[in-house]
């Protein structure tokens, strides 16, 4: 079993006197993909990343045992992770008034927080205001892809043509058939693990070998099948067979490390943007990368009204610098790209660049979380120990609501993510103490199973972010003010989610130990979407189907902000497929001199 260890490319000084073909802002799933595709077309590309390049292997140390860490993986005592309770009773900016030296979002409250503390932002430096929102951000090369949950799902025409299906919102300006070849390319270039199920609403990918199911999951798969539903092995954005074309990424060796911590894979079997996209792009010699470069605004040529580049602050010196490009590609994450558009207010674009529709910041959508269920399988209690967590994820139960039969209480749907079996950290929620408690923990350790829902949040114009008129971040840049709340459809959907979760376990004969019905704080899914949506009508949308600004034709916004609706399926793979398609279009137009 060989782990690949290629040295990352060195980063030379960047000559900002050059005018690049494209300047990309952000290096996560979208920015990395834009860098890959544009350089593959022979373009000279500058990629700006606000955070540092971290040596991820040294940060993540995926296989370090808890007892080999002085705090068993916990952050220093002076650092604090926000809790669900704090998100519930406090209001943003969350760090304000808290005594800790460092304050992080809730993901740092999971196990092994010391390994990811340098990847995520300190809330003190990066405040926001307005309504309650659990906003998770990673500011480093690769962004959230370094610690993402890895569930890699396709959307279908149930999503792209959702309005045609149920009358709500807008259809996407493209169909599954348009995106399918790009999903294929993403699958083959980055690697994806899964098992084909032939579902119209969750199209199969070009899978590498699937992970396997634990006994409790086999039981649940059989039980669900009796009602025409599906439990499938976690479709993970992880290469399980390896990638011959990528020398930075090893195949998955089932270490299970990605589930014990906030996330992350120090052998890069799980996709991350640096090793999956950016380092190979650097190897072409056509990509220039500048980290510590905090984008401040998109500049506009006063003569032509076109985007001319990006003004950014150097994180070390604080100096304001400018990068120039024939095309500007925003990929800073849904809400950061939106913020950047709103911050860019040349005379031609008084409401923010590309915002003649007034829709930038609006139609904010995501996934709602909270309802779920935990339990155990009686027949598995006390059985000899087996290896159950040697895989990058457990299982997924695809959407089963509002497909061919319509419900009257809510539209759209939800899926469940779950897992089961023995893990490094056992279930210890039982009451009591002493030998009986210890025996119970031991005997239950391999018998537990749990799952939680991810539901589609409808895009609504009134759910929005805007610039706060007063508050600024550590760099003096105005921050976002949230005005975002779940609506009645989400609440009714979650009531059904909670009920169906219980029914699914009951029908499978799984003993339920915990059934949750409460909705978690907005933002919890870390799937912000929709605030610069695509559409055919420039009056009601920001971008066309190629993520190109209706107003400024050499400005592209290639991250989740372009999504027209949230689907209930996780967005990362769709972000990358859309970005690939748009960058093919961008390169062709640029080649023809049309941008």
């Amino acid at each position: 079993m060989t782990v690949l260890r290629a040295t990352p490319p060195a980063l030379p000084e960047v000559d900002l006197r050059r005018r690049f073909d494209a300047v990309i802002v952000g290096s996560g799933a979208a920015g990395g993909m834009a860098a890959h595709v544009l350089t593959s077309h022979g373009l000279e590309v500058l990629l700006l990343e606000a955070g540092p390049r971290l040596e991820l292997e040294a940060e993540l140390r995926s296989m370090e045992w808890p007892y080999d860490h002085p705090r068993r993986g916990a952050m220093p005592s002076t650092a604090h992770a926000l809790t669900l309770n704090e998100y519930t009773i406090r209001e943003p900016p969350y760090a304000q008034g808290l005594p800790w030296k460092n304050v992080y979002s809730y993901v740092q409250g999971w196990g092994g927080s010391d390994y990811s503390k340098n990847l995520v932002v300190d809330e003190r430096d990066h405040p926001y205001t307005g309504t309650r929102y659990a906003w998770v951000r990673a500011r480093c090369l690769g962004g959230k892809t370094n610690i993402w949950g890895r569930l890699a799902l396709r959307l279908s025409d149930y999503d792209f043509k959702a309005k045609s299906h149920d009358g709500y919102g807008e259809d996407w300006p493209l169909a599954y058939a348009d995106l399918e070849p790009y999903y294929d390319r993403v699958d083959l270039y980055l690697g994806i693990s899964g098992h084909p199920e032939g579902l119209a609403h969750l199209p199969d990918s070009r899978f590498q070998r699937s992970t396997r199911l634990n006994p409790a999951e086999v039981l649940l798969r059989h039980s669900l099948a009796r009602s025409g539903r599906v439990l499938t092995p976690y479709r993970a954005g992880v290469t399980t067979d390896g990638l011959k074309h990528n020398r930075y990424r090893s195949r998955c060796f089932g270490r299970g490390a990605c589930n014990r911590r906030t996330g992350g894979c120090d052998i890069h079997a799980a996709f991350d943007s640096p090793t999956g996209l950016i380092y190979p792009a650097l190897d072409t010699g056509r990509l220039t990368l500048r980290t510590g470069s905090i984008a401040r605004e998109v500049t506009v040529d006063p003569a032509t009204g076109k985007a001319s580049g990006v003004v950014f602050l150097d994180a070390t010196s604080g100096r304001s610098l400018e990068a120039r490009g024939r095309v500007v590609v925003l990929a800073a994450s849904t809400l950061e790209s939106t913020r950047l558009m709103l911050l860019s207010r040349p005379p031609q674009h008084p409401n923010g660049i590309g915002n003649s529709s007034g829709h930038v910041g609006h139609n904010f959508c995501e996934h709602v979380m909270g309802p779920g269920v935990s339990g155990f399988v009686k027949d598995l209690v006390g059985k000899p120990r087996t290896l159950d967590d040697g895989r990058p994820g457990g299982f997924y139960v695809p959407r089963f609501r509002n497909l061919n039969q319509r419900r009257s209480d809510f539209i759209r749907g939800y899926g469940f993510e779950g897992g089961s079996g023995a893990s490094m950290f056992p279930h210890t929620e039982m009451t009591g103490f002493g030998a009986a408690f210890k025996k119970q923990v031991r005997e239950m350790a391999g018998a537990t199973i749990g799952m939680g829902g991810f539901g589609e949040v409808l895009p609504r114009y009134e759910n929005e972010v805007a610039l706060d008129p007063a508050a600024v971040d550590r760099w003096g840049i105005p921050v976002l003010r949230f005005n975002f709340k779940f609506g009645d459809n989400e609440k009714r959907m979650c009531a059904d989610m909670a009920q169906s979760a219980r029914e699914i376990f009951d029908e499978a004969g799984i003993e339920i130990t915990d059934a949750r019905s409460e909705i978690r704080t907005e933002g919890w899914s870390i799937h912000e979407l929709g605030t610069a949506r695509m559409g055919s009508d420039p009056k009601t949308s920001v971008l066309n189907q190629f993520q190109q600004s209706h107003d400024v034709d050499n400005l592209f916004v290639v991250d989740g902000s372009s999504h027209v609706s949230a689907s209930c399926q996780n967005p990362t793979w769709t972000i990358m497929a859309l970005c690939w398609r748009s960058c093919d279009y961008l390169a062709e137009r640029l080649r023809k001199g049309e941008l």
């Binding site: 005594p99 199920e197 290896l387 023995a422 893990s423 103490f433 031991r442 350790a445």
Partner: protein, 189 residues
């Protein structure tokens, strides 16, 4: 009140603590103080953690896993300049004193001198309120159990001896049931 109790504990530590220990503790030899707790507090914490997760026929308990020393080390590194950390440190000292005082009230002896039966009755009373703790001692029990569980199941002994955890290793093949061998496929309804 709590200051007095803590004071008494310290006095006990300063005097001859060892002869007062029950035989099991004496067998382990004289107990040094910790980095945060004094010798008597650390002895009390060690006994309490062992009572929560005891040695049994299957594996060692919290004592063998070094749980008290782990908790002591973590608390020693708490920055006392930060009010919540200062408060948590105080809660540990007060909590230990409260348990000891409760034991004296019910059995006329401190926890370290109490019989196994007296200890069991005391902890059962505290554990009965685990879901809804009210008194300081009950709240402390929840905190104590939480940290004992964390310290034990992240220890070498807890992971390997007690749970016989098999993972965190390199696999040539994934283990479990092959989904291709399982029925059936579903579809939209």
């Amino acid at each position: 009140m709590t200051i007095t109790r803590r004071h008494l504990l310290r006095l006990a530590a300063g005097a001859a603590a060892a002869p007062l220990l029950p035989p099991a503790a004496q067998a382990r030899g004289p107990l040094p103080g910790g980095r945060f707790f004094d010798a008597t507090e650390l002895a009390l914490l060690d006994e309490l953690t062992e009572a929560i997760l005891p040695a049994d026929a299957h594996s060692g308990g919290a004592h063998a896993a070094g749980v008290a020393a782990y908790i002591d080390g973590r608390l020693a590194e708490y920055d006392p300049e930060l009010p919540p950390l200062r408060a948590e440190r105080a809660a540990w000292k007060d909590g230990l004193a409260a348990v000891d005082a409760l034991c004296r009230a019910s059995s006329q002896q401190g926890f370290l001198e109490a019989s196994p039966e007296q200890r069991r009755r005391l902890l059962e009373a505290l554990a009965a309120a685990e879901q809804e703790p009210h008194s300081d001692a009950e709240k402390f029990f929840v905190q104590l159990k939480d940290w004992t569980v964390h310290g034990y199941y992240t220890s070498r002994l807890g992971i390997h001896d007690e749970l016989e955890y098999q993972g965190n290793t390199m696999l040539a093949e994934f283990v479990g049931a092959d989904p291709a061998a399982l029925p059936p496929k579903g579809g939209p309804r």
